[in-house]
């Protein structure tokens, strides 16, 4: 599972890629990423859209604050309406959040401007939700945006918890958007799908899903982490419970990050005008690529780490870039979760391959870094020059895009009690009888993104799915485009990838994003349980999604 030779790729999609040696390519992150920008033919983009130069590793890595529930004595005003939600009384909320979406100024780097951003609770990325199975939550999301904002972004919002197992009315269905001066209550019951603890999800994220404006709104700042814990993945590396995994723990809360070893990292790429203001190529139908790498909203930050184990929760925040993550010294690490779902067993690897909206949890042990080495980089080895898909080129480590600098501090003397158990969360059986098979071809026709030749209509039901049944869905990408296909409400299993059975490796897991490269085909085992109503399956290259590459699924009794 290491990229040490051209043969041993763990990810099937890797086999088509090629390594680039020598110095034919430009060196350094900036050279490569700006080279990409030059090579890309992007009609419709302004002539001055190449970002100003920025000095890397100037600002430290930043962290969003934790979302704070209302104190016990305080009630939402007006009160929530239980009848508006499925199974509200059964999973009565024990925590209430009152979150505001408003404009704020966000400065990603001292050499760039503070640009107007759209923010969850004044934070870019949005505040981090720390949830726990068995503790249902109600979150009110208030739209405090102005009636109109100059440039990209809509004043209408609808919040989707990506990979949330939620009722349709709380899922953030793209047609459920609402405008300024309104609020909407989301009931997040935090239950296992089908009541099965093996269905636990860990690293989720929430983002805006406003129909046709998802790319613009998330690019403008509407995305944040949404973490879930349970008795096994308890978020405490010193948990005395014998069942607990005791993975590296402690999620940073704003400026409180010392002693925290469970680190969410959202990777995005952005572009800035000569004045350092955030700009977006809204005319591009293929996808938008930035020429600056950001981590947690800052351009190329640094992070001080101790010589111990860290859990990093990696998220490809899009809108259109793919990543092949690695450590600059080629060191290996433990890949413990795919799409935020803990694997049956950790996989040792030296790379992680992510498409848009995919997540990976990894545990990096900095105590394995040789003494005397005090600086390392987290790099992206994948070359991408257009928004529609990455190239097949894997860059040498020394020439890869540098995303984040780790500064390794001396020993702190605090014992590292965390561990990576050899067994994590087992996979549930696929024992629900399959009642039918469907095909979904993600394609392009006359410059339009289509699924089975159709374009999205939020008033048209494309799939009627009987709750509690199982189906086989064959999804495929025709033509020369890549599509990270995302399914709402339930995560599913890949049975075959390009007609080969998937019964081991990193794809033998529960997933909610299925990364189709050109010509790929996957067979999925699909279930929708517990909830009814409208859900979506769509391409999560949000530019494709906004141009109607979406399917409406109605889950019915």
């Amino acid at each position: 599972m290491k990229i040490s030779s051209a043969d041993g790729f763990g990810h099937p999609a890797m086999s088509r890629r090629r390594f680039v040696g020598g110095t034919a390519l430009a060196t350094g992150a900036f050279a490569i990423i700006s080279r990409s920008a030059r090579a890309q033919v992007t009609p419709g983009i302004g002539v001055d859209f190449n970002s100003p130069a920025t000095t890397p590793w100037v600002w430290p890595l930043a962290f969003a604050r934790h979302a704070v529930p209302l104190p016990a004595w305080k009630r939402l005003d007006p009160l929530p309406i239980p009848a508006a939600h499925q199974r509200y009384d059964e999973f009565a909320p024990v925590k209430f959040y009152d979150m505001t979406v408003s404009e704020c100024l966000s400065r990603p780097h001292p050499q760039l401007a503070a640009s107007p951003a759209t923010a969850y609770q004044g934070s870019v990325p949005g505040v981090t939700f720390m949830g726990r199975y068995g503790e249902p939550v109600l979150c009110r999301v208030r739209n405090h945006l102005p009636a109109s904002m100059q440039g990209f972004g809509s004043s209408d919002i609808i919040t989707h918890v990506h990979n949330g197992h939620h009722a349709s009315e709380s899922d953030g269905w793209p047609g459920d958007w609402y405008g300024p001066g309104q609020f909407k209550d989301h009931h997040w019951p935090h239950i296992y799908a089908g009541g099965d603890w093996r269905e636990a999800k860990g690293t989720l994220w929430y983002h805006d899903h406003r129909m046709d404006y998802t790319a613009q709104n998330t690019y403008r700042g509407l995305a944040g982490f949404f973490l879930l814990f349970d008795h096994l993945d308890s978020g405490d590396e010193n948990d005395p419970s014998l069942d607990a995994f005791r993975l590296p723990s402690g999620v940073p809360d704003g400026s409180r990050w010392r002693g925290c070893y469970d680190i969410p990292l959202v990777f995005t790429d952005r572009r800035y005008d000569p004045n350092g203001q955030l700009v977006m190529d809204v005319m591009n139908m293929d996808g938008h690529l930035g020429d600056k790498y950001l981590v947690n909203g800052r351009v190329q930050p640094y992070f001080e780490v101790e010589r111990r184990k860290y859990r990093f929760r990696l998220l490809d925040g899009g809108p259109s870039r793919y990543y092949l993550f690695a450590m600059s010294n080629g060191m290996s690490f433990q890949h413990i979760a795919n799409d935020g779902n803990l694997l049956p067993n950790p996989i040792e690897t030296d790379h992680v391959d992510l498409g848009v909206a995919e997540r990976a949890d990894i545990v990096v042990d900095f105590s394995q870094v040789p003494e005397g080495v005090n600086e390392l980089y987290f790099v992206n080895r994948l070359l991408q020059v257009s928004g529609e898909k990455p190239t097949d080129t894997i860059l040498p480590l020394a020439e890869s895009g540098q995303l984040l600098k780790f500064i390794i501090r001396p020993e702190t003397g605090v014992p590292d009690n965390s561990q990576v158990p050899s067994s994590l969360r087992p996979l549930p059986e696929m024992n629900t009888p399959v009642v039918r098979t469907r095909d979904f071809r993600f394609n392009r026709r006359n410059g339009m993104w289509t699924v089975n030749g159709n374009v999205f209509d939020h008033n048209r039901t494309d799939v009627t799915f009987k709750r509690g049944t199982a189906e086989i869905w064959r999804i495929s990408s025709s033509g020369g485009w890549a599509h990270p296909v995302h399914m709402h409400m339930e995560e599913n299993r890949i049975l075959t990838y390009n007609r080969k059975p998937v019964d081991s490796g990193i794809l033998n897991c529960r997933k909610d994003v299925f990364n189709l490269y050109p010509g790929d085909e996957m067979e999925l085992y699909v279930r929708f349980r517990d909830w009814l109503g409208r859900y979506a399956m769509h391409c999560h290259n949000t530019v494709h999604e906004d141009h109607a590459m979406m399917v409406r699924i109605d889950v019915v009794p």
Partner: protein, 262 residues
């Protein structure tokens, strides 16, 4: 009527040549040849002397945050000369589609959808909303007018069909993002030419796009969504057939938009 197949080359199609002569007479500046002999770049510069050449489809930003497109010379269905940026884009709210009168592919369905969408937009058509259709095949103004009459569009408020040199139309199409390296030379081919509709509110720099083959209500919605949320035209027939359960925030006052700080 609109039956001529104009996808063939002009040299191979004498009939089409005659029918286009009117357009050519309008387009050819003194001493410049439209067919060959004059490079694309030269002609783009001739047509857009006020915009520096930044490549195909390039736009630039004005200090007020709006986009400036190349000011191509175009002709409408009545043969009137118009400028792309000054007359069609600047300060306008519009939906733009691409096609040509003799298309036997997707144009018919897209035109019908646009027509239905304009009917849904009702009184908003003309002021403030305009619908444009750009000819991908050098249709003459009279051809376009005939096609509009055939579809019952001619004379309806807000509708304009536009024709111009292939280079101008290509630049406009690319500036709207309808570009595909693999399809670049086949935009006259009904099997592949773009079916996307571009929506723009120039003053607010709001842009979106949706497929022209979808539900006409989605086209009308996309236009409505270009407006500030408190000033949207009321359009019947585009309602979402569901409920978002959203409620008003008590005592809410709208905030002013933020501006950037250097």
């Amino acid at each position: 009527m609109i039956q001529q197949d104009k996808t063939r080359s002009i040299a191979a199609d004498g009939g089409a040549l005659d029918r286009r002569s009117a357009l050519r007479a309008l387009l050819i500046p003194a001493g410049a040849a439209v067919l060959g002999g004059c490079s694309t770049a030269t002609r783009l510069v001739q047509q857009a002397p006020d915009v520096a050449d930044g490549g195909l489809g390039r736009t630039r930003f004005e200090p007020d945050g709006t986009r400036r497109f190349r000011n191509h010379v175009l002709y409408d269905q009545d043969g009137r000369k118009v400028r792309f940026h000054d007359d069609l884009v600047r300060g306008q709210v519009f939906a733009a589609s691409f096609g040509y009168v003799s298309c036997r592919g997707i144009c018919g369905r897209i035109s019908n959808n646009m027509l239905e969408a304009s009917a849904l937009l009702g009184g908003a058509m003309g002021n403030p909303v305009r619908f444009y259709n750009f000819s991908l095949a050098e249709d003459s103004p009279s051809d376009m007018r005939e096609a509009m009459e055939f579809r019952g569009i001619y004379g309806k408020p807000g509708w304009t069909y536009l024709t111009g040199s292939p280079e101008a139309i290509r630049d406009i199409r690319c500036s709207f993002g309808f570009f595909d390296a693999g399809e670049e030379d086949t935009q006259g081919d009904p099997a592949t030419h773009t079916g996307m509709v571009r929506f723009g509110n120039h003053a607010l720099d709001k842009w979106s796009s949706c497929p022209g083959l979808g539900n006409p209500a989605n086209i009308a919605r996309s236009v409505v969504w270009l407006f500030p949320s408190d000033r949207r035209p009321q359009v019947v027939g585009t309602e979402y057939e569901g409920s978002n359960n959203a409620r008003p925030i008590p005592g809410w006052t709208p905030p002013a938009p933020l501006t950037a700080q250097g």
